[in-house]
């Protein structure tokens, strides 16, 4: 029943795509920051579903674990910490130039990218790792791990330096005022 499965795959994709677009829209236009954050969580979860449907299991898990489970928690914490109130949206200035630029850039993006990839896909990679090949090679997680720790070893080590710098920077910036009362 191949037709049936294609129908379901497409249906699931379009459902997810519609929900993701809707959630993204709500993230951008919600008045209350907490509302935006919750919609963003749902959005990220749905995107993880799309990654899973693209056989990128590890990325899907990381998406939920790090993005939805950690980064957005930080956003929520800060929103609650600062006790942000609903924002007046009346100041959304849609000057014709800005809105027009946005729409035109959107259309430009679509046309550029879709035409760029419309043709044959050769020359973009060895194409050796379709899902079946990944399965025989030891699963998606394993293949990603090997790729990361052999081909991408320098970016991997640099990522640790990036994280180190982020730790230092965040603490320096956020803890700055805490020292003042002690000095006085």
């Amino acid at each position: 029943m191949p037709d049936f499965s294609i129908l379901i795959t497409h249906g699931v994709f379009h459902l997810f795509a519609a929900l993701i677009t809707l959630c993204s829209l709500m993230v951008v236009v919600s008045k209350h920051p907490v509302k935006s954050a919750v919609f963003l969580v749902v959005d990220l979860f749905l995107l993880a579903g799309l990654y899973a449907s693209l056989d990128s299991h590890f990325v899907a898990a990381i998406q939920v674990l790090v993005y939805a489970g950690a980064i957005l928690v930080l956003f929520l914490f800060v929103i609650m910490l600062l006790n942000l109130q609903p924002e007046e949206l009346k100041g959304l200035k849609f000057s014709a130039v800005e809105a027009g630029t946005l729409v035109i850039s959107l259309i430009g993006f679509l046309i550029t990218i879709v035409t760029a990839f419309k043709g044959d896909q050769t020359g973009l990679g060895d194409g050796s790792l379709d899902p079946a090949a990944i399965e025989t090679a030891g699963g998606n997680t394993y293949v990603v791990a090997m790729k990361l720790l052999t081909n991408y070893i320098w970016p991997f080590e640099l990522a640790s330096i990036l994280i180190l710098m982020a730790i230092v920077a965040a603490i320096v910036i956020a803890k700055k005022d805490q020292k003042k009362p002690a000095a006085q």
Binding site: F58, A145, T150, K175
Partner: protein, 117 residues
């Protein structure tokens, strides 16, 4: 069978169950609200201040460090998965990674960002 079909089933079930439990509360049971009853509960005394007080920056610092260490854990898992094939090379690789992050950890300790007072 696609391994995510069960995930979808369970997800739908879980969401429905949560929604039903949440809705049951509204439909079953009596409903006679009074102003005293719907006040925020503070052990019976009238409420003193609003809930919208600013919270300590400590919670924020915890969350930020959590993100960064979470990513480290993810990389450790990736390495653990590839460990049998990488061997000593992988061990040295992850050691370099860890030493850099432990430096960050020591900085955090020295700055006292983990002190809760």
């Amino acid at each position: 069978m696609n391994p995510y079909i069960p995930v979808l089933i369970v997800l739908i079930f879980g969401l429905t169950l949560g929604a039903i439990l949440s809705a049951l509360a509204a439909f079953l049971g009596p409903r006679n609200p009074r102003p005293e009853k719907s006040d925020p509960y503070e052990c019976g005394v009238p409420k003193v201040t609003n809930a919208n007080e600013k919270m300590s920056v400590k919670f924020y610092l915890t969350a930020i460090l959590f993100i960064l260490f979470d990513i480290e854990t993810i990389f450790l898992y990736l390495w653990a998965k590839a460990f049998p094939q990488l061997g000593w090379f992988g061990v040295i690789e992850i050691m370099v990674f860890m030493v850099i992050l432990v430096a960050g950890y020591i900085y955090v300790l020295k700055r006292g960002a983990l002190e809760w007072d």
